[in-house]
């Protein structure tokens, strides 16, 4: 900092007036520098403030999605419900009226008289429509339970869940509410006695799409996204690296390669929906890949990721010092050996970073998937990449448009899951880079 005053001559400094003027000037310079720094800090703080606001709203809205209200009921699996044969046949187990068993247990726990039709209906609507499947699964897993009375945790209806999470406004007049005063009374009693409680929500990870918030999960979307990322990796990394290495190491510098280079840079900036249109025309209509399949989604996203990988790989390959290549050639390596043994291994950190940034971008895309039918309601889990699937951001979008209140928190919850996925990928990228990075 004192350097700036060095060139000043002693003659100038000796005059008090001049010295005063110089000091004012220096002060001004320091002030300018402080301001310059302050702008930088302000810009960072501004960005951070938005990030904090975004994260805090998502977390505040979404953390409740990882809890789910459920009734713990003593379900009496009496023999009578499973037909006359002992032990009951497989079809008896499938066809048994589990809803009736669930309701009977619920009425007992809430103290509702099943003979009162209106009350019974109001009480039964507090249980998730999926309760029967839950009991059936328990029985299928262990048929020896039949004839016994067992405690089971059965999902509550989405409206009950919103109540338990405090998103329900009791001051609204009864006829405008989803739950009546009577139902609230039962629920308060059940919550006080511990029959109704919030549990960790494993369902949000394991269920597929559902029209009911309590049985909706990101399972199918997660598997779909995973398949697509795998396909993107398998298709775009080899193609991208091969193209980049050729362009950087072998290709002559002429009009053709210049055109290719400009086009690759342009492709990286093309709106993603265009890739969706391309995918629809080529993969679905021409090649006959099944619509909505994770395979076609993966291929479209691979095309979209290619330019990112090519650009990153070219930069990484170009950054390897020429001395490495020359040394390899000097000891008698062929051009190919110099590249595969020296240049590419040294460029790996850069390639990895480019790949993971490309993958992360692909993971968050919905627009191209719309065109190829992946914005869809998919209940069944995809067994192979050829089966219909959907993707994490698509699931978020679909929940955001649903009418039921329970989907609001799930939208934020799914966003958190997507963010966690992204953070994992980015951390992997950083770690891999640290591991392989070499400085010279």
């Amino acid at each position: 900092m004192t350097v700036e005053t060095a060139p000043m001559t002693t003659d100038l400094q000796s005059s008090p007036r001049m010295r005063h003027a110089t000091q004012a000037l220096i002060k001004k310079r320091y002030a300018a520098e402080r301001r310059f720094r302050a702008y930088g800090v302000a810009a960072i703080l501004f960005g951070l403030a938005f990030l904090v606001a975004l994260f805090s709203t998502i977390v505040a809205r979404g953390y409740t999605a990882f809890l789910q209200s459920a009734f713990t009921l003593d379900v009496n699996l009496d023999q009578g419900a499973f037909g006359s044969s002992t032990p009951p046949s497989q079809s008896d187990i499938i066809m048994a009226d589990y809803t009736k068993l669930a309701n009977r247990a619920l009425f007992q726990a809430l103290g509702v008289d099943p003979a009162n039709k209106a009350d019974a209906k109001a009480a039964a609507s507090l249980l998730s429509a999926n309760a029967d499947v839950q009991i059936r699964k328990a029985v299928e897993a262990d048929p020896s339970l039949i004839g016994k009375s067992i405690p089971l945790t059965l999902l509550a209806h989405g409206n009950v869940d919103t109540l338990m999470k405090g998103h329900f406004d009791r001051t609204v007049p009864e006829n405008r509410r989803q739950l009546s005063d009577k139902q609230l009374g039962w629920l308060d009693k059940a919550a006080a006695s511990g029959v109704l409680a919030k549990h960790f929500n494993t369902g949000i990870f394991t269920y597929g799409a559902s029209s009911k918030p309590e049985t909706a999960g990101v399972g199918v979307a997660f598997i779909g996204s995973l398949y697509m990322m795998l396909i993107v990796l398998l298709v775009s990394v080899p193609l991208g690296v091969a193209a980049a290495v050729y362009l950087e190491e072998f290709a002559p510098k002429n009009l053709l390669t210049d055109t290719i280079e400009v086009n690759i840079n342009n492709l990286a900036a093309v709106p993603s929906i265009v890739f969706g249109l391309l995918g629809l025309a080529i993969f679905i209509n021409f090649m006959g890949v099944p619509r909505s399949a994770a395979l076609v989604g993966g291929l479209v996203l691979a095309l979209m990721t290619l330019p990112t990988i090519i650009i990153a790989t070219r930069a990484a390959v170009a950054a390897v010092p020429p001395s490495i290549r020359e040394a390899a050639l000097g000891v008698g390596a062929s051009k190919m050996q110099s590249i595969t043994h020296h240049v590419i291994p040294l460029a790996v950190p850069g390639i990895l970073t480019g790949t993971i940034i490309g993958l992360a971008k692909a993971l968050g895309e919905t627009a191209p998937l719309l065109m190829i039918g992946m914005v869809a309601f998919v209940v069944d889990f995809p067994k192979t990449p050829f089966d219909s699937a959907t993707a994490l951001p698509v699931q978020i979008y679909m929940w955001a448009t649903a009418a039921e209140r329970g989907f609001v928190e799930r939208t934020a919850g799914a966003t958190l899951i997507l963010l966690a996925f992204l953070v994992c990928m980015n951390v992997t990228a950083v770690l891999l880079r640290r591991r392989y990075e070499r400085r010279w």
Binding site: R176, S211, M287, A293, V379, D380, F386, S388, A402, R405
Partner: protein
């Protein structure tokens, strides 16, 4: 090492793509279309999967009635969808397009009605509107002293002295929505007629013959003002709801089922004195409603496993009756006689008459 890895992965990728080309037989029903019908179709698909454990759950895509029908009309074959959901009747031009692509036998299934409601924030006082109030508030040109003038109404009170003194801001469905058509036809046009605007528009309309003039006049009647009083919402009802939550003096257009699910946040307006509900829409007393349809490709019936079962399941009493799951969500059920008719139609597989080419 690296070159081996690259060669191996490339081979895998190429192999997978080649495998995909040998298209596999589809064992899953595919549906696309209206976003209004989507939640109903989702419920049916979910129940279908639960009921028929040997069949796969259908895949339901959304994207709008028009887009769904376009996909539906792309042709016959395993790679084309089986069912198109629609919140409006299929147009003659679309039937012709279908026929061109070889989709000649289409079964039309009407499965219920949907009401369209006006709603305001719960804090507001009672809203009672007539179609003519909406027309006078939102149309681009309104009749005044026997002539058409540009709409200058600032508050709802200017339009009807019974309405509150709120600035006019209405969130109406964007033009790509099927709901917009119903809004124009049943609200704006009705209001236009009631105020005599249609005659004035007709007198002004240009065209070769009367039919063309009438068309131009209808179009002019449906034109909404562009000065910010009528806000097009291209997203979904959740967006409209968010707009009303931030602007407590806004009026929004919703589907009846969306309103039923968000009753604690919205207050519904009566139209011509009738409050929208399942009963009033079903009986036809509430004026702003529309039928909901799905269209089935007959050539796929019996070819795609599960399609026949899906259509029969959708139209069964279990799904469509007044205490079924769709009505619980907010669908206005078909009257019993009409439902029996639809079930009969599904059984016989009667197709739409192919329109003149």
């Amino acid at each position: 090492m690296n070159s081996k890895f690259i060669a191996y992965t490339t081979a895998t990728a190429v192999g997978m793509a080649a495998f995909a080309c040998a298209a596999m037989a589809r064992d899953q029903v595919k549906v696309a279309g209206s976003s209004t019908v989507l939640p109903y179709a989702n419920i049916v698909a979910e129940q279908f999967g639960k009921t028929f454990s040997n069949l796969k759950t259908p895949i339901i895509e959304s994207g709008g009635s028009g887009a769904g029908i376009k996909q539906f009309c792309a042709g016959v074959g395993e790679d084309k969808i089986d069912v198109a959901n629609s919140s409006r009747k299929i147009k003659d031009t679309e039937i012709a397009d279908c026929a061109k692509a070889g989709v000649t036998d289409i079964v039309e299934v009407k499965f219920g009605y949907d009401g369209i409601v006006f709603a305001v924030d719960t804090g507001a006082s009672e809203w009672k509107v007539e179609p003519k109030d909406i027309y006078l508030a939102l149309a681009a040109e309104v009749p005044k002293d026997g002539a058409l003038v540009a709409n200058t109404a600032k508050t709802w009170k200017d339009v009807n002295s019974d309405l509150p003194d709120w600035p006019i801001v209405a969130f109406i469905p964007g033009e790509k929505h099927g709901t917009r058509e119903v809004f124009e036809e049943k609200v704006l046009h009705a209001g236009c007629k009631a105020t005599g605007g249609d005659k004035l528009q007709l007198a002004k309309a240009e065209g070769k013959d009367d039919a063309e003039k009438k068309k131009a006049a209808d179009k002019a009647c449906n034109k909404v003002r562009k000065d910010g009083a009528a806000v097009d919402i291209d997203g979904d009802y959740t967006e409209t709801l968010a707009r009303i939550e931030s602007n407590k003096q806004g009026v929004g257009v919703f589907g009846l089922s969306f309103y039923e699910n968000n009753k604690d946040k919205l207050k519904v307006a009566t139209i011509s004195g009738v409050e929208p509900s399942l009963e009033t829409v079903a009986s036809g007393k509430y004026p702003v409603s529309r039928p909901l349809y799905f269209y089935v490709k007959k050539a796929h019936l019996g070819v795609i496993p599960g399609l026949k079962e899906y259509v029969e399941f959708f139209t069964s009493d279990k799904i469509l009756s007044a205490d079924g799951p769709l009505v619980e969500y907010g669908l206005v059920p078909l009257p019993d006689a009409e439902r029996a008719e639809v079930q009969e139609l599904v059984k016989s597989g009667k197709t739409l008459a192919t329109a003149a080419k």
